[in-house]
């Protein structure tokens, strides 16, 4: 079982003729994802080396191929428009890999998406993978293993690190969602938790949080009020100094809020164990699913 993406996913890759888009389209195909179309304005009619047809617009791609999911690898200044284009063409799930999108652009795009009932993952997301079924993003597929642990993360590579440990210890994943490291994302920690709550194929959820914002604190409240899955957590940024942006636009301790200590305390208060190192997550998952 899985959520968001699976065997039935029909993927269109926006920015498929770019360096990253092209490389990862091939990787996704190799993983078994049904990549049915690519989009690059002005290059409609071409085919990629892998035989994927390229269209001028998402609307054309949807009409010709029945694509229902989109993944976006276009430069930051065009990315919000690409997201809106996908939504307007009737795409139900858009996964935005592009990073560095101005917050203003994203905030303006979100009502457009809400109106059209389109779910956005990201931006600045590593993507979504349902191991063994479909990979939509940039994560290395081979570290994943099919199973019953759901993973939600604000980070990219840190997720790979933790997933790697999980897989090596025999804990496969139902779906791993990189919600993105920006302050404003289409699907936040709570939204992603709600998705797993309703998934019968998920026994436990691993939350990989970091400094900044109060998503983790709100997640703790959601758990306190009755969350149907067992939870294990990791919070990055214990050593981060206040007032400095730690890479992610969303990772900043401001005005004493958003500290790792606060988030860890919030989780512990509701009985969620928080790992000190990525490797420790495995022990916690073993305990909560044992």
């Amino acid at each position: 079982m899985s959520i968001l993406v699976g065997k039935e996913t029909r993927l269109v890759v926006q920015g498929i003729t770019g360096r990253d888009g092209g490389f990862h389209a091939r990787q996704m195909i190799a993983y078994g994802t049904k990549v049915v179309a690519g989009v690059t304005p002005g290059k409609g009619g071409a085919k990629t080396e892998d035989g994927v047809p390229v269209f001028d617009s998402v609307a054309d791609a949807v009409a010709a191929t029945g694509a229902d999911t989109s993944v976006i690898y276009v430069p930051a200044s065009f990315a919000a428009d690409a997201v809106c284009e996908a939504a307007d063409a009737g795409i139900g799930l858009v996964v935005c890999i592009s990073e560095g999108i101005p917050v203003r652009d994203m905030v303006r795009a979100l009502p457009f998406l809400r109106e059209r009932g389109t779910r956005l993952i990201g931006p600045n997301s590593p993507g979504v993978i349902s191991p063994g079924l479909a990979k939509v993003g940039i994560m290395p597929g081979e570290i994943h293993r099919q199973g019953r642990v759901g993973v939600i993360s604000r980070s990219g590579t840190l997720t790979y690190e933790i997933v790697h440990h999980l897989s090596q210890s025999g804990f496969g994943q139902s779906t791993c969602i990189g919600i993105g490291g920006d302050p404003i994302v289409g699907t936040n920690l709570l939204d992603a938790m709600s998705l797993f709550a309703a998934d019968e194929g998920t026994d436990a959820v691993v939350l990989i949080g970091e400094i900044g914002g109060n998503d983790e604190e709100l997640a703790a409240r959601m758990i306190r009020d009755g969350y149907p899955k067992r939870v294990a957590a990791f919070i990055a940024g214990r050593t981060a100094p206040p007032g400095k942006r730690m890479g992610h636009a969303g990772a900043i301790i401001a005005g004493g809020a958003g500290t790792a200590e606060g988030k860890i305390a919030a989780f512990k208060e509701v009985g969620v164990e928080v790992a000190d190192t990525p490797a420790q997550i495995v022990d916690i998952v073993r305990r909560v699913t044992g």
Partner: protein
């Protein structure tokens, strides 16, 4: 990106906010002349990119041009939180009857632009939030079109019962919204927004932070960047497209991804040492970025070992390996380098690095412990 009050005032003025006239000066004589020109009393304000200026004595009232010159002289000699004051703003003073607070931010929860106002202005707003949260009204707004009249009424009636004042504040709030959205700000704050003796409303302070990702649209604002109070490594990193924060430890870190970089720092601390920096080479990497990262870290004499922790996704390990080989060749590395490369193209990277004297590590734990051991010699 933070900008100086004087630049924020210029932006506010451009968007129609009522900002008292002022002059930016670098010496007491110029301050005296500015006070003469503006008319006294004036306020002399240190221009530094940190908060708490007022408490540190960086803001002073002067009732004559001569006094303005003297006060400017005092302030220009100061250091505030480690930053030397190089310029002061001389602004016409306002006879304050009441102080309000108004700010625009993006709200992470509602994912909308949000306006915050308080009738308790002129003090630390975080203090108000802690002690009297009911004195702050937070209103999520539409990302297009600005304040609707009913929202303006709600905000202004929270601040004042006086209709004439409410009308002026309403116009200020709309202009604040326009300025915030117009320059791709992540924060636009007026503290305090004041009502003067003669019944007019003034923004006597101005603070704007710009969303770094939106700067490409505003080259005139990028040009305002003041790197004087920034670590030179941070400046160099930004110019190289890297994300870097200087810290006080001895283990230099080169990591891909902000989360993994923070987790790496946390683990160094967990195993009893201190990281020398946060450094994220970002997603789509290139050998050049790795070279630039190594160069920046090597500037710091307290770095005793460098830890490379890469989990390849969009970043390819072979790109990183090529960068490291290039760095060894060009920079004459004299600190030990512990390298952990896994994920996309890790095998190719391993082949490239085979035969170098870099210390390899399989896992992150192993790499961190190895770097700490190497640093201790």
């Amino acid at each position: 990106m933070k900008i100086h009050e004087s630049d924020a005032r210029a932006i506010f003025t451009r968007f129609g906010l009522p900002v008292p006239p002022s002059r930016l000066v670098a010496d007491p004589r110029a301050a005296e002349a500015a006070a003469e020109e503006l008319g006294c009393p004036v306020v002399v304000k240190a221009q530094v990119l940190v908060g708490g200026r007022g408490k540190a004595g960086g803001v002073k009232l002067a009732s004559s041009p001569r006094e303005a010159g003297e006060k400017a002289g005092t302030i220009l000699g100061m250091e505030i939180k480690g930053l030397a004051v190089e310029k002061v703003l001389v602004a016409r003073a306002v006879d304050i009857v009441k102080e309000f607070y108004a700010a625009m931010v993006f709200d992470r929860v509602t994912r909308r632009p949000m306006m915050m106002v308080s009738p308790s202005g002129g003090v630390d707003i975080e203090e108000v939030a802690r002690t009297a949260p009911e004195r702050i009204l937070k209103l999520p707004l539409n990302p297009e079109g600005g304040l609707m009249p009913f929202q303006t009424r709600r905000l202004t009636s929270f601040l004042t019962g006086d209709r004439a004042v409410a009308k002026q504040i309403g116009a200020v709030l709309q202009a604040l919204y326009d300025a915030f959205m117009g320059v791709d700000a992540s924060l636009a704050e007026i503290n305090p927004l004041v009502l003067s003796q003669d019944g007019t409303v003034w923004a006597i302070d101005a603070k704007i932070n710009i969303d770094d990702n939106g700067l490409f649209r505003h080259p005139e604002i990028e040009a305002l960047r003041d790197t004087a109070d920034e670590d030179p490594g941070e400046t160099a990193a930004r110019e190289a497209g890297l994300s870097f924060v200087k810290l006080d430890g001895s283990i230099g870190c080169v990591v891909n991804g902000a989360g993994l970089a923070m987790a790496t720092m946390d683990m160094i601390k967990h195993y009893g040492a201190e990281p020398a920096n946060f450094l994220d080479i970002g997603g789509s990497s290139s050998p050049d970025k790795v070279l630039a990262a190594m160069r920046i870290i090597l500037r710091d004499p307290s770095v005793k070992a460098i830890l490379i922790n890469i989990f390849g996704g969009i970043t390819r390990c072979d790109d990183v390996a090529m960068g490291l080989i290039e760095a060894k060749k060009r920079l004459g590395l004299d600190v030990p380098l512990v390298v952990r490369l896994t994920g996309t193209n890790a095998r190719e990277a391993g082949e490239l690095l085979a035969g170098t004297d870099l210390i390899g590590a399989e896992t992150m734990d192993e790499a961190v412990k190895g770097a700490i051991a190497a640093a201790r010699g």
